[in-house]
């Protein structure tokens, strides 16, 4: 009971400023925490898939490993190659890192835990995520390294191609809900989740999302056996970790969008204070999808670049178009 009063007090605080500051702090903390947890889980799961224990040294079962790694990266010198374009080289990691926080503004963690419910929430979040490609292009170009440039060009081609099936499959959901508002889409799924009604769209979205975040088997921009480390070859220290954090946060958003649009968002068996504790269901679903991303990464070899684009243009886009058409016809009827 006391807690409810506390939350009410927080909600009724008049100065908008306090809310903004608190939100910003929470978002930044969440970005880092998510990267830490996800990084740890990725390494731990990779270890288990590979018949080894994974990180074990720092803390019980190595849970502090990522923190130690972060401190190590902070302590490293940030080297700007002599021939690199220094302003672009500095700008790229920031450009990758900063927008990811903005996407949190529209994510409904539970029915009351949402910063702003924009009317165009879905478009907003997709637009912000698309900025990542720009950051990668700048990183690859600014490095003045052929491998980086290869990675950057691949990333842009990949993002441009896969954004189409991704948007088309999300559009079929929007056709059904008649709203771009994230909250509205979650509420529209109260009897049945969209994953039941739109399985094809969900599948296409998830595959495209995997490609969008450059995860194996679509990790061509950083295909280490071909391009050493791709666009972030030349980056060291904290700037490298900015890319790293941006990648993990983008993964989070790809899965979060999947949960919001297809898996009913925060809905689940009722808990006390459901309007806040819905976040538990939300995060559980998101991390379950993230686990699938990790699972796929450590199980499959990488596709070749032409195969990647062929797959998109020849299969994903036609299928998503047909799906959209069928959805439109059914909705109209």
């Amino acid at each position: 009971m006391g807690q409810a009063i506390f939350m009410e007090t927080v909600n009724s605080l008049p100065p908008e400023l306090i809310r903004i500051v608190v939100t910003a702090l929470v978002i930044i903390a969440f970005v880092f925490l998510n990267s830490l947890i996800l990084g740890y889980l990725e390494r731990k799961f990779a270890g288990w898939f590979q018949l080894r224990p994974g990180p074990m040294e720092v803390g019980p079962h190595g849970i502090f490993q990522l923190i130690v790694d972060g401190v190590k990266l902070l302590g490293k010198q940030f080297i700007i190659p002599k021939e690199a374009n220094a302003p672009l080289f500095r700008l790229a990691p920031l450009l990758a890192f900063i927008p990811v926080g903005m996407s949190f503004i529209v994510v409904p963690f539970s029915s009351k835990l949402q910063v702003r419910d924009l009317d165009v929430g879905l478009i907003f979040i997709l637009a912000i995520m698309a900025l990542n490609a720009v950051a990668i292009l700048i990183a690859g170009w600014g490095s003045n390294n052929k491998y980086s440039l290869f990675g950057a060009i691949r990333a842009v081609a990949q993002n441009v191609a896969y954004e189409i099936p991704m948007l088309l499959s999300l559009l079929s959901v929007v056709l059904m809900t008649n709203t771009f508002s994230m909250r509205g889409i979650v509420l529209a799924q109260s009897p049945v989740w969209h994953v039941i009604l739109q399985p094809v769209a969900f599948l296409i979205y998830f595959i495209a999302g995997m490609a969008e975040t450059h995860r194996a088997p679509f990790d061509l921009p950083e295909a280490e056996s071909e391009l050493t480390a791709g666009f972030h070859t030349e980056f060291s220290g904290i700037c490298f970790s900015f890319f790293f954090i941006a990648e993990y946060t983008n993964m989070f958003f790809v899965c979060a969008i999947a949960v919001i649009l297809f898996l009913g968002g925060w809905s689940g068996p009722p808990l006390p204070y459901m309007e806040y504790t819905g976040i538990i269901w939300f995060l559980l679903k998101v991390y379950a999808l993230l686990f699938i991303l990790i699972w796929v990464r450590w199980s499959f070899p990488r596709v070749r670049f032409d195969q990647l684009l062929n797959f998109c243009w020849k299969y994903l886009i036609p299928f998503s178009l047909v799906n959209l058409l069928v959805t439109a016809v059914i909705v109209k009827l």
Partner: protein
């Protein structure tokens, strides 16, 4: 063809792949003239790990050079041992006891499996599949443990001696090897599920980097990449040495010579090696494992050659002797040298990703090429 002269009429640029690059597996540098992601002209640049082993070979007595043989190709060290002791035995007419020959065959084949397992993992790592290398290393580790017990080292063995092997094997070795055979046989279906039938894997390796028999002949290619073209040439069968004629085994061959066939040939070779080991263990003769060899043995005047089937192909030693105990000239012909020299022809107009596959299929050990 010439290093550093661009094709004037094309918008090309140069890309240095290596000497530090994850998929050149050592200090190999491939200078690529590229147009976009397509390779116009690949030019391997070697010699970064050159140690002048041939000069060392003609500065030491033949006996003192033994340990160096293991350092030329560290992944199939026992076969390099085998070729060298075979050469000296052939020249001097010394015969190793049959038990020693059996032990040599068993350990050599174990070493071949270990090398192929490492290749399998590394090849898939080049493909971007991180997990299989851990599984193959797990299997390979068993071999290293078995070999460590009898040879005393895990990688750069110096186990064979002229006239036998340095120490006898015991029941533990036989038991351990049998257990390993059972284990690896049970693992092959898993590798098939995980790798051979994986759609992405098939799409990546099928019809990529096709070798032809004619190309192999022009370049002197040997080993699995030759057999993948359908030519069943294996020194163990075509120019038998040691006690290989006594065993029943097949020479796996491919049909098209693409990376898929190279993969299948290597995997089946592991199965055949298991068969050889099993037969050798079953009929392991009793007796000494070493004959008496004079301490300072002079090599007869003349020049002799000895070839063995190393993990990557034909390893040939050629020794010229002036009648002393120090070779006058020792030529080592590693298989990868010739195998790599066909890379420019193989990879012209190929995608960068496919070049990585081709390099992986060649199974390069750069110190072996550089010597």
């Amino acid at each position: 063809m010439t290093l550093g002269t661009k094709n004037q009429d094309r918008h090309s640029f140069y890309l240095n792949m290596g000497p530090q690059h994850p998929s050149t597996h050592g200090v190999l540098r491939v200078l690529l003239e590229m147009e976009g992601e397509y390779i116009l002209e690949p030019e391997p640049v070697i010699g970064y790990g050159h140690r002048m082993q041939e000069k060392i070979g003609e500065s030491l007595t033949w006996n003192a050079f033994m340990p160096n043989t293991a350092r030329i190709d560290y992944l199939s060290a026992l076969m390099y041992n085998h070729g060298y002791v075979g050469l000296i035995e052939r020249m001097t007419g010394i015969e190793a006891p049959r038990r020693a020959e059996y032990i040599r065959v068993i350990t050599s084949e174990l070493n071949r499996i270990a090398s192929h397992l490492l290749w399998l993992g590394a090849f898939l790592l080049d493909l971007g599949a991180f997990t299989p290398i851990m599984y193959t290393f797990d299997d390979r580790e068993q071999i290293l443990d078995i070999l460590e017990d009898v040879t005393g080292s895990r990688l750069t063995y110096c186990y064979y001696r002229v006239g036998g092997v340095s120490r006898d094997v015991d029941g533990t070795f036989v038991e351990g090897t049998r257990a390993f055979i059972r284990r690896l046989r049970s693992r092959f279906p898993m590798y098939d599920d995980l790798v051979t039938n994986n759609i992405i894997f098939i799409k990546r390796v099928k019809d990529i980097a096709q070798f032809t028999p004619d190309m192999a002949m022009r370049y002197g290619a040997t080993g699995p990449i030759l057999r993948s073209t359908g030519i069943g040439y294996d020194i163990r069968r075509n120019e038998p040495y040691s006690v290989y004629p006594e065993f029943d085994f097949d020479i796996p061959v491919g049909t098209t010579g693409d990376c898929m066939d190279v993969y299948l040939v290597r995997v089946r070779e592991m199965e055949q090696s298991l068969r050889i080991i099993e037969q050798a263990l079953d009929s392991l003769p009793e007796g000494p494992c070493m004959t008496k060899v004079p301490r300072r043995l002079k090599l007869p005047q003349g020049d002799a050659s000895f070839s063995v089937e190393a993990a990557r192909g034909e390893l040939s030693y050629y020794l010229v002797s002036d009648g002393s105990d120090v070779p006058y000239r020792l030529k080592i012909r590693p298989p990868s040298f010739s195998n790599l020299s066909l890379l420019p022809e193989l990879c012209r107009n190929m995608l960068l990703s496919d070049l990585v596959m081709a390099l992986g299929a060649l199974d390069l050990v750069i110190p072996e090429i550089d010597r």
